[in-house]
């Protein structure tokens, strides 16, 4: 092993997927060969750029698409300059310099500057509101624009353009796609498949204009519309250009490296300077530039081998299948789809099922494949192409796919089992079946995540996940449990988080809509999923969703707590635990009138009347209501109570008006539904008489302000709270507490208390969003306030006024003396 001081210095310009992958290979091959420094123009770590579309559509969060978190760089001793753009390469001194003035020397330099979106050279292309679709900043800008729910125009009907359009549509924008060619994705699809794709895109409510040539982007201070060559003017508040990319090679060119369309390299990814390599979208190898991830990963493999000393490693061109990542649209295309005298084709159309398949043949071999609607045989057809298999024997049934060949059964499992070991499973990463099954048995892998971690298969775009799971079950048999996530209940295979995400992403606004779209396995759910779905819908669409009472637990339906004998207990709200003689007198009268057998003071500083007959509930509420009481919601998966101490009003140690703040919080937040019950407290000094440090959310008043605590527990689990942070005014305390509660409302799984949620998403992340990001906090706060408009209706007075009266009376009494109850 070499001594550390002999390590060479490797500097990388760019921190995208290609150099990230190259480093992984390099650390495997030669872990101690280099000291690595990375300059990244984007101010963040390496993430999976091909998953930006799911982030745009809301199906994934940014955190889920990070490939290398900060810890990875630390672990490998990498110096990562985030937000540093390299402005100069000095090949004589062998240094690079960033715009922030940092200069680093190198022994080997790797250029991975990627590509730039192509901007149409038309007037108005620099107006505010014209965006491209390339990185996370673009996605964030689009999401911001989408909040206006106004009109968006996407220029470009290729992969990126269609994914952007679908994403914006799922964010409720009015979207039009302009495409200059007669059919969509004409480079990858033939006209028939392009037509089907256009219909499918339009069926989602996205307008498509083909043969639409953009002449000008119009607007005074910002985008107002697009002028087409035929004179049509289309109004727009947002224009996204997705018309292609060009390799980003200007830095290399200025340094005098040989550049053509991209930075020219040999098959070993070496540029015209032997100490400088280039990979990724900026590189041109064998006269070609690449944009899909599979060849970029191949470049990464080659350059890592070269850097580790293997001068034989060489890049080999291969065709990569195209897939569109728009939920619900399945297409697969690879190879040469052109027509010609020396070619034949096999076409299968099934209009009612929306299926179109076409194979282009030459000399009894498949040279091109387009599949639309039904794409499961894509890997098999592609494999036949790569191996140049003579298909004349199976030509009659070829188009029906692999399961029709050789009499094997029509079972997708059998189809995967029949694949040869060198059949490609993961196109993005070039992983074949044998490598996956080998890793499963060799390394004892048992889950999809294991396979992703060890082989990278299904770790990029994810479209081969089904195949990988089939390989897992084939290899492991019954011991493989495919559901890494625990399903909500036996009515679905989806976990709570998937369901929550899909409710938003697909704008599902009723329980039947959720069950239909997410393919529930039962006709109307069960007692586990229905209350959960009802909460998610109430939480996500407070103004539009009609609360489904039949999906609420009995306590929330009758606004009282069912007891073991079928009677109920009633707890009126006592704001901040304060009461009065008038209130106490009203309670005493109710207890006498209805002969309520038990009265108890609760742990949340209120009074509980136990043993009330269901039929009496409306009359009990009516009497309590006359004294000014509302329901204490002691039954709710929602805000219960805010416990307080007497604070500066009375206490000689009190530092703030804890009672007043507690009452203010309770009056602000009552009526809100949360994933599980939410109990709060405000203590006037660190002596903590309100026991705020074991609550879901607690506040400890101190001289300098208000210390906000959260994620405590004093039930099945006992756990002290965590500190969220210190704020100085009562107003700030309220805003932070409300924002925290809203974040929990939006992310929590049904019945998941705040401490479990916090453990799952991470305390730092919660602090970052609530304490560190004022815009985020304001957003949460505003959404909470909006939903309260619909939530703060006292259920007791509603019932007294006659809503759901039937709940409390028998439908019939079969008249008969002994039957009277």
């Amino acid at each position: 092993m070499e001594a550390p001081e002999k390590k060479q210095k490797l500097v990388i310009i760019g921190n995208g997927m290609a150099p990230g992958r190259a480093l992984e290979h390099l650390f495997e091959l030669a872990p101690d060969a280099y000291d690595v420094t990375i300059f990244n123009a984007e101010p963040r770590v390496n993430y999976d750029r091909i998953m930006l579309s799911p982030v745009l559509s809301g199906e994934k969060a940014f955190e889920e698409i990070i490939i290398h978190g900060d810890g990875w760089y630390i672990k490998h001793g990498i110096m990562l300059y985030k937000g540093h753009k390299v402005v100069n390469i000095d090949r004589v001194a062998k240094t690079v310099t960033s715009d922030a003035g940092t200069t680093e020397p190198y022994d080997k330099l790797l250029i991975a500057t990627g590509s730039l979106p192509f901007i149409l050279p038309v007037p108005g292309n620099n107006l505010p509101g014209v965006l491209t679709y390339r990185d996370l900043d673009d996605v964030r800008a689009m999401l911001l624009a989408a909040q206006s729910r106004a009109k968006a125009i996407v220029i470009g009907g290729g992969l990126l353009g269609l994914e952007a359009a679908a994403g914006l549509k799922s964010r409720d924008m009015d979207v039009t796609v302009l495409h200059v060619m007669p059919t969509l994705m004409e480079r990858q699809l033939d006209p028939a498949a392009g037509y089907l794709l256009e219909k499918a895109v339009e069926a989602r409510g996205i307008k498509v204009l083909t043969k639409a040539s953009t002449k000008e982007i119009i607007g005074e201070k910002k985008v107002e519309g697009v002028l087409l060559a035929d004179g049509t003017v289309l109004p727009a508040d947002l224009v996204v250009m997705a018309v292609g990319i060009r390799p980003s090679g200007s830095l290399a060119k200025e340094a005098g490296l040989e550049c053509n369309r991209g930075i020219v390299t040999d098959a070993g990814m070496r540029t015209s300077d032997p100490d400088i390599f280039a990979i990724g979208e900026c590189a041109e190898v064998g006269g070609q530039c690449y944009g899909l991830v599979a060849p970029l990963y191949e470049m990464a493999r080659v350059v890592a081998a070269q850097l580790a000393g293997n001068s034989e490693a060489a890049f080999v061109h291969s065709e990569t299948p195209t897939k569109l990542k728009v939920t619900g649209i399945n297409l697969f295309s690879v190879g040469d789809l052109g027509e010609g005298d020396d070619r034949q084709e096999i076409v299968l159309r099934d209009a009612s099922a929306g299926v179109y398949k076409r194979l282009v043949l030459k000399d009894d071999r498949i040279i091109g494949t387009v599949l639309y609607g039904e794409t499961s045989d894509g890997a098999w057809f592609h494999d036949l192409t790569k191996k140049r298999t003579d298909i004349s024997e199976m030509r009659e049934t070829l188009i029906f796919g692999q399961s029709y060949q050789g009499g094997s059964p029509l079972d997708p499992m059998a189809a995967v089992a029949a694949l040869p070991d060198d059949a490609e499973i993961c196109g993005c990463n070039g992983i074949c079946k044998g490598k996956i099954t080998g890793a499963i048995t060799g390394k004892g892998l048992t889950s999809l995540d294991d396979v992703r971690a060890h082989t990278k298969a299904s770790a990029s775009c994810g479209s081969c996940t089904g195949l990988v799971e089939q390989l897992l079950s084939l290899t492991l048999g019954d011991s493989y449990n495919p559901s890494a996530v625990t399903p909500m209940c036996s009515c679905t295979d989806l976990g709570h988080d998937d369901v929550r995400r899909l409710i938003k992403a697909k704008s599902l606004k009723s329980i039947p809509a959720v069950m239909q779209e997410l393919e529930w396995k039962t006709s109307c759910g069960c007692a586990k999923c229905r209350p959960a779905l009802n909460y998610y819908l109430v939480s996500d669409w407070p103004d539009e969703y009609a609360d489904d009472y039949q999906s609420r637990f009995i306590n929330e339906r009758v606004h009282a707590n069912i007891q073991k004998d079928g009677t109920y207990s009633v707890v009126p709200r006592m704001w901040g635990g304060m009461t009065s003689s008038k209130e106490l007198r009203a309670i005493a009268d109710v207890v006498d009138k209805f002969e309520i057998p038990a009265v108890k003071v609760t742990g949340g500083q209120r009074i509980d009347m136990l043993g009330i007959k269901k039929e009496d509930l409306p009359a009990v509420w009516a009497d309590l209501g006359k004294a000014g009481f509302v329901s204490g919601q002691a039954y709710a998966k929602g805000l219960r109570t805010v416990k307080t101490c007497v604070g500066t009003d009375w206490c000689r140690f009190g530092t703030q008006d804890s009672t007043g703040l507690g009452i203010r919080i309770e009056k602000f937040m009552w009526g809100s539904w949360t994933p599980a019950k939410l109990k709060m407290a405000v203590s006037g000094c660190p002596r903590n008489c309100a026991e705020a440090t074991c609550k879901d959310i607690g506040i400890i008043c101190v001289d300098s302000g208000f210390e906000i605590h959260f994620a405590g527990a004093a039930g099945l689990d006992i756990k002290g709270t965590e500190v969220l942070g210190l704020v100085h005014t009562e107003d700030e305390a309220l805003e932070h507490v409300v924002a925290l509660a809203q974040m929990y409302r939006e992310q929590g799984r049904y019945l998941e208390r705040i401490y479990k949620w916090a453990k799952r998403v991470g305390l730092d992340e919660i602090r970052r969003q609530i304490m560190g990001d004022a815009d985020k906090r304001k957003g949460y706060f505003d959404r909470f306030v909006f939903s309260q408009k619909f939530a703060q209706v006292d259920p007791w007075s509603e019932r007294v006024s006659g809503v759901d009266k039937h709940e409390f009376q028998p439908m019939a009494t079969i008249a008969y003396q002994q039957a009277a109850e």
Partner: protein, 110 residues
Amino acid sequence: MNDWIEIGALNDIPRRGARCVMTPQGKIAVFRTMEDQVFAIDDHCPHKGGPLSQGIVHGASVTCPLHNWVISFETGKALGADEGSVKTIAIKRDGERIFALLERTAVAAE
């Protein structure tokens, strides 16, 4: 001897909900499913006597509000791992009107 006695109308019961009927033999719970089928069983969970009429209705079954036993309307039997059953009461419908097969002696006693 049993007889068909009218106990109410379909629209008295919410879909995926229940109403109670007091009878000389005790309280019965009458359920209406999503598909407007109507069933009646004793309002008394075989586990600890919970009021089944207060449970969440799903498919042709109800989950008891006390300890989450699931009772089938068709058989009166507990589903899943739990064992026990409640009495089912025959129901017939004439359009909107609902009849239950109840003991005649009780009615005659009126």
